[in-house]
Symmetry: C2
Subunit: 203 residues, 2 copies
Amino acid sequence: MPRNREEVRRRLMEAALELYQERGYEQTTAAEIAQKAGVTERTFFRHFPDKREMFFHGETALGEMLTAAVRNAPRELGPWETLFKAFRSAEKLFIENRHVSEPGRRIVAASPALQERQAAKVNSLTEALAAELRERGVAARRASLIAKIGMAVLAHAVASWLDGGSQELDDHLVQAFEDVSDLSAFNVTRFAETAEPQLRTDS
Amino acid sequence: MPRNREEVRRRLMEAALELYQERGYEQTTAAEIAQKAGVTERTFFRHFPDKREMFFHGETALGEMLTAAVRNAPRELGPWETLFKAFRSAEKLFIENRHVSEPGRRIVAASPALQERQAAKVNSLTEALAAELRERGVAARRASLIAKIGMAVLAHAVASWLDGGSQELDDHLVQAFEDVSDLSAFNVTRFAETAEPQLRTDS
DNA sequence: GTAGTATTGTCAGTGACTGACGATAAGCGT
DNA sequence: ACGCTTATCGTCAGTCACTGACAATACTAC
């Protein structure tokens, strides 16, 4: 039983990934993972706050990277441009972690508990980005909305990239941001007026 | 010990809400809720699949309402207009449930476990909306992106409405959709080119 | 009132997670 | 090589969410 923290942690993650791929996440107990890694169940929970958290460690680095990118973006950029630039600057991180997130995606997709945790992680990252935008002087409400939309766009681009074939992540990102721009062809106010003719007398 | 299903369910929810507001969600056990409602812990879990699920029953009706609204929207409407119309048509449901979602919001905000469940619920509703858009002939990828952005906008509008003071939900919704339209002033392609001047020789 | 069905109670058990405390390995000075 | 300190680990006991199996009980129709 080694006492090197990182070593034990690494072995726990390896053991967990193997067992998850064999029997699936729900069919694997923390005790089994610990045993395969050569430690006790108690030790497992000293390294990870809970069973789900093992999956979301690359995302910690991603969050720090994105918030830093927003913080360090040129002052003159608006919030939307800032997010676009920040997302693009993180492309390398996604590519480097693809060999982890690719198989992890299947496991997460098969487990409601993991999906919940992932959704929560996305939310907290969204709020972190909104906070950074606020630091840059964006009004609170606007910062929150733009962060939400931005993360939705990012999540969509990454998902398309992981699912899809040969296209680059950056292409998916640019495409998704362009799709958002296309949404503006829709004039809300005019639509709102014409959509409920029963409330108007003229035409 | 009554054997009327709805009656027992109602008493369980009442007991739960009271205890949650007293001691908080994590400090309340399922056994305590059941006891306060006059039944056994086992019965609690026959009425609710798990402890978190109690909170998200109004959202079931909301999901059905929204998906139906999308399904029944005029054929000629584009996906974005369809969502806008669908969201507006659900305003009454939100207003009717405000007395429930308003205090429930504080409890959820104080509990990571409940936040995770809520985020997952939002995700599944998002996918349901994307599926409805696909049924209307929208390309799969585009449907997914628009549903995500739409739900982000809706969530933002509802949150602003619950937080904020006197403004109507509909005003928040219209405002949020307009904010999205304003995002289009940003030309992605041109920005992408000019943003990395070190790669270009001219200017 | 009786038979049938739906709902509940009881019991035993699993698995995630935690606190407390003793044991042990690793690093360090001598 | 020897103790000393500290971080890490093992062991144990316990809580709580959740489940399966089966018996007990209330409701419902006849």
